[in-house]
Amino acid sequence: MILAFERPAIDWHAVAPEIVLLSVGVLITLLDILFLEKARPYMAALSGLGILATAIPLLTLGIDGTERVLFDGAYVVDNFSLVLKAIFLLAGYVVILLSTNYIVDGDYWESEYYGLLLASLMGMIMMASSRDLISIFVALELLSIPAYLMVAWRKRDPKSNEAGLKYYLMGVFASAVMLYGMSLLFGVSGTTVLSEIADSIEAGNGSSSVMTLGIVFVIAGFAFKVSAVPFHTWAPDVYEGAPTPVTAFLSVASKAAGFVALLALIFVGFYELSNIWEPLIWILAALSMTVGNLVALRQTNVVRLMAYSGVAQTGFMIAPLAVAGHSLTTGDQALSAIITYLAIYAAMNLGAFAVIITLARRTGSAEIDSFAGAFHFAPGLTVAMTIFLFSLAGIPPLGGWFAKFEVFRVLATSGEAWGYLLAVVAAINSVIALFYYANIARKMWAEEPSENDLKNVEITPSLVSALAICVLVTLLFGIFPQLVARFTEVSLLAFAT
């Protein structure tokens, strides 16, 4: 049987952001090949401009506001995906600002770096729209494979090699296990589109144990991506070994991408089977918060500390999912709470990394002790770092406060005993977290700087803009929480009954 190929109808406006980003990525790669060294100084600016250009069609889509469904439901552009694409683009832009002047250190070629960064970003904005097992898988690999390479960027540095290989092996293993789960899901439901999987579950296929196994494998695969305990073991080593701007990118954008996929799968695909995924998420959330915070307490390296703090923050972010299946209203609230958290977390974590990058370049080490007395030689950075640290700890009126508040609100209003218990675990953990965040701030403000001062702190214009964006977002969202709430009130449960 020969089928004539029929071009599917494509809504070009809906995929315009992807097309713009792809063109910029290709353009950068071509310029690199054609002009080699001559093009090098312009690459960072060009990729930054490319990201800003990508934001234009995103804005027009947001103003237009209609939900666009492409490829029989495999690719959907709705408010949920637009908000997340905006978060990804902003995070990507800040990471490019942080990478300028940094990646080239040690005489490494930097043009491909921006090409890889844009490719990874492309995977992320695709992930935000994917509502199909195949497109989720392809988006996941598109965002992961460039990230493996970026982690191993410092080719001659054994630590960077080691981090790259560890990230690669564990990442590929996790995605292979996730794929096995996806093949089982396809086997039970006979389709790869998430909304059709939901229909098949409703038709009675949900009780099959193969379906349960598939869901568990898929959730485990994405738990790796968001570095939830017990799938977090890669995070500290990779964060420490990778170039720090890449670490910032992984800890924010890559984590958010994992969350997006998890949200799409759970809310569009498996929502009916909450008895399977709720306990799983509950355990992941409670473990991540507790283990992440307790191990963070005894870290002496700031980047490793941020890695474990990131694991603990994942626990907070994932917690509302543990009660999301209670009712449709709780589900919607949980979704908004997670997106709010992701947006605020992106700003404060990127900001903290911006300060770490600058201060660590001065001494060449990321030990907490080398930050001692930072107020004496870098007062501006110290104030900014204090804002980010207290925001991460959830102190009002900074952004992190509102994010945590939303999580507690969902947990406490769900009316489930498990929800209350998780809220208690989260509350205890907030207190533990405050201890190590405040410890860094105390060292920076109160202690005297060590005598062997090496270099002056080098603050570049791109770094100042990155910091300004992060401080502004952190403060703005904390003081006017209704601002972020206006954007994050989206729903994925339109199809669920």
Binding site: V138, L165, M182, F186, R304
Partner: protein
């Protein structure tokens, strides 16, 4: 059609792959074990697709094959990099970072 035989084959392959990833210390052997898992996925997908007469499964398998090739390309490059810097690819000895 006998679906079970294919599923058992793929489950066995999957288990061998996971065992290999967990126990092998040579970087290339771990890569091969991961390939085994990916192939067990492909068998699953194609068997289910044939059984249910659903095309998406075969399409999915093609995507898995293509992406796996890209992944292995990156993985071998990384193992090579490690070999250049250390003259061995024993994963148990890659432990400069701890805590």
């Amino acid at each position: 059609m006998l679906l079970n035989q294919f599923l058992i084959l793929s489950a066995v392959l999957f288990s061998i792959g996971v065992y290999g990833v967990v126990t092998r210390r040579n970087g290339v052997m771990v890569l091969m074990s991961i390939e085994l898992i990916l192939n067990s996925v492909n068998i699953n997908l194609v068997a289910f697709a044939a059984f249910r007469e659903a095309i998406p499964g075969e399409v999915f398998a093609l995507f898995v094959i293509a992406v796996a090739a890209a992944e292995v390309g990156v993985g071998l490059a990384m193992v090579l990099l490690l070999y250049r810097n250390r003259r061995n690819i024993d994963l148990a000895r890659i432990d400069s970072m701890k805590g």
